[in-house]
């Protein structure tokens, strides 16, 4: 994952590098073009001057009829030359090209204008040349300057870009920070983030509205839960009191007492079913607080102590192997207790006499884990797939449970962001794994 700030800076850097590369590629070519044009103009100007001069003073000062018929002049540094000679070629020449001339055993590239003209019936060829060495120097220098200058600019702008994006993106950082802090929608910080970037303002507003909406729907769900619980629990309550009063009468005969107790049992099943559903609904609508901090090992030890008499009675060995302890923060102890209790109890219910149930805590990949394994009958793939589904599970049939215990465990695990998973082998046993969230480590 790359941060937005870094991404922007990287993009800026890349675009500058591409721009610079293009610049370095094309600029020298353009400069050369411009220079050549200037040289050409210069040469044409010089030709005009020469022709004017010849017009004024005649051709004789340059070429005498008795000499070889060639005039040539170089300046000392071989920057420029001029040559004039009689020529026999028929066509008229007027062009500029680049030729290498050997002057005093030194080969130099010249830009040369070739021009023919007639004086007194004689055709002359005029050549005026200008050395390209200076142009080549210029090109090299310009490249060097551009490289240094652009490098410098890139460096400066990179630093300022980074700073600037950091500043303009700081409201976004605040908004994501707000989201990270919350444990439920109602704890979202409703104070608007200070910014004049409209996108961030609308993002912040949208989030705020969303949180209010979610909070509102949670509240509605909570109301429904309360109402249903009232509606269901009141008649159960009346029935229960009536039956209990009957059972307490002195004149009740044992047979009737037995029947009343059986009715009470059935009523308890109904009560526990409603209670379980309410518990799930309450957890899912975040009616429980997550504000406690406790040692998981101590909690597991407490559960083992509590369940051990039942395990012993069944001749099942229940042991704890605590390699690491973990201080679980921002949690609800009663709920986590319930979660582990349900699973440990389930494990014992499904283990045969002389079997084993092991509660193990350890750290793996930087995360705290708890495994609860039994040597029971194990489960098939099909059974495992519906394990956490409400009312779909009925592992043992010796208990009075409603088959919702594991669904409750799952809901509690989700509420605490604990990852819960099952591995099972038929006739070998089952292992429940709980992986605790990293943040609470």
């Amino acid at each position: 994952m790359i941060r937005l700030k870094t991404k922007l800076a990287l993009f800026n850097l890349l675009s500058k590098l591409v721009f610079t590369a293009l610049f370095l590629l094309f600029l020298p070519w353009i400069v050369e073009r411009v220079n050549l044009r200037q040289v050409d103009n210069d040469l044409i100007q010089k030709r005009e001057n020469t022709i004017d001069l010849i017009g004024k003073i005649g051709i004789e000062p340059f070429i005498h009829s008795d000499t070889s018929g060639i005039f040539g002049s170089y300046n000392i540094l071989k920057e420029e030359f001029i040559s004039l000679e009689r020529t026999g070629i028929a066509e008229d020449l007027n062009y500029i090209d680049v030729t290498d001339r050997i002057i005093e055993e030194e080969e130099i590239a010249y830009r040369v204008i070739n021009y023919t003209f007639m004086v007194d019936g004689q055709k002359y060829l005029l050549e005026i040349g200008k050395s390209l060495a200076s142009i080549q120097y210029a090109r090299r220098n310009i490249n060097r300057i551009i490289l240094v200058f652009l490098g410098f600019i890139i460096l400066i702008t990179l630093v300022t870009d980074l700073q600037y994006t950091r500043i303009i993106l700081s409201p976004l950082k605040k908004i994501t920070g707000k989201l990270k802090e919350i444990s439920s929608p109602s704890t979202f910080d409703m104070i608007p983030v200070k910014t004049n970037t409209s996108d961030f303002v609308s993002l912040d507003n949208a989030l705020r509205d969303l949180m209010v909406q979610i909070d509102e729907s949670f509240r509605k769900e909570k109301d429904i839960t309360v109402n249903i619980s009232h509606e269901l629990m009141t008649p159960v309550s009346v029935l229960r009191s009536k039956l209990e009063n009957m059972l307490l009468r002195d004149d009740i005969d044992p047979d009737t007492a037995n029947k009343v107790e059986e009715s009470l049992k059935t009523l308890h099943r109904l009560q526990s079913l409603v209670n379980s559903l309410l518990l799930i609904a309450r957890i899912e609508s975040h009616q429980y607080l997550r504000e406690e901090s406790f040692s998981v090992q101590a909690l597991l030890q407490e559960i083992i102590e509590e369940v051990n008499p039942v395990a012993e009675d069944k001749e099942v060995t229940l042991t704890g192997e605590f390699i690491n302890d973990h201080q679980f923060i921002q949690a609800n102890r009663a709920l986590v207790f319930s979660m582990f209790y349900n699973v440990v109890n389930n494990a014992i219910r499904n283990t045969f006499p002389e079997g084993k149930v092991v509660v193990k805590t350890f750290s793996e990949h930087g995360k705290f884990r708890t495994n609860i394994s039994d040597t029971g009958n194990g489960m098939s793939e099909a059974q495992m797939s519906t394990l956490f589904t409400r009312f779909k599970t009925k592992r043992g049939d010796d208990g009075d449970g409603t088959g919702i215990g594991l669904a409750i465990a799952k809901v509690i695990a989700d509420f605490h962001k604990i990852e819960i998973s099952v591995a099972s082998e038929p006739r070998k046993g089952t292992t429940f794994s709980f992986i605790f969230p990293e943040s609470s480590l």
């Binding site: 309360v226 009232h230 009141t234 009346v238 009063n245 307490l248 007492a257 209670n275």
Partner: protein, 225 residues
């Protein structure tokens, strides 16, 4: 002791009254908040059992009013709204205890007795059970000077049976009292049987305990005087 039962569900109110009368309480009934408010103004009550979900009245307001009028009645809230906030609010207003519906009548009684003991600063006496002595102060059981080594759960179980002596308690009533409602789904009648079995084993090691009876098909009973 005088008890006012404020409960709009008449069937439930009457059952509670029937039960408490056998325990020698004087019971008054109020089926609405207004009725309750009038009765509180005229009579002196030691206990007010208050259903928070009254149709005409906010139960919490009733607590506020009563406390304001200077009444020393103790409130025990009974409600089907099991929300944690309600419980906290009620206790904040000065209610003495809180029971979620549906509850066992014996549980209600033991709560009333607990509040009464606190309120009237009643000394807890040691209880004699055959050859055994139950020291409630130290929460220990002795047999002819020797301590019987009980776990916390075993002691709680015995204590609850002793508090409700001569009554048959069902396994579920015992379970509910000791483990509370949060583990309701895991209720296993075998649980209580195992604990009673262990308890008996420990008792009988010291001396026979015929006073701890199993009532076939119903539950358990302590029948000592």
């Amino acid at each position: 002791m005088n008890v006012l039962i404020v409960e709009d569900e008449t069937g439930l109110a009457k059952e509670i009254a029937t039960f408490l009368k056998t325990e020698n309480f004087l019971c008054d009934l109020a089926f609405t908040g207004i009725e309750a408010s009038e009765k509180i103004a005229v009579n002196l009550y030691d206990f007010i059992l208050l259903d928070l979900g009254l149709p005409d009245y906010n139960g919490l307001d009733l607590i506020r009013e009563t406390k304001k009028a200077g009444s020393e009645a103790s409130f025990i809230i009974i409600t089907a709204r099991g929300a944690v906030e309600d419980k906290v609010k009620g206790l904040d207003l000065g209610a003495d205890d809180y029971l979620a519906k549906p509850f066992a009548l014996v549980e209600l009684l033991s709560r009333i007795n607990a509040v009464a003991r606190r309120k009237f600063n009643v000394q807890v006496h040691d209880i004699v059970l055959g050859d055994f002595i139950m020291q409630n102060q130290s929460r220990k059981l002795f047999c002819e000077g020797n301590e019987v080594d009980l776990t916390k759960k075993e002691y709680d179980l015995l204590h609850y049976l002793v508090l409700n002596r001569n009554k048959v308690l069902t396994r579920h009533q015992l379970y509910e009292h000791i483990w509370g409602n949060i583990l309701d789904d895991q209720y296993d009648s075998n649980f209580i049987d195992v604990h009673i079995k262990n308890l008996r084993k420990k008792l009988n090691f010291h001396s026979p305990s015929p006073w701890l009876e199993t009532v076939r098909g119903v539950g358990y009973r302590v029948s000592a005087g």
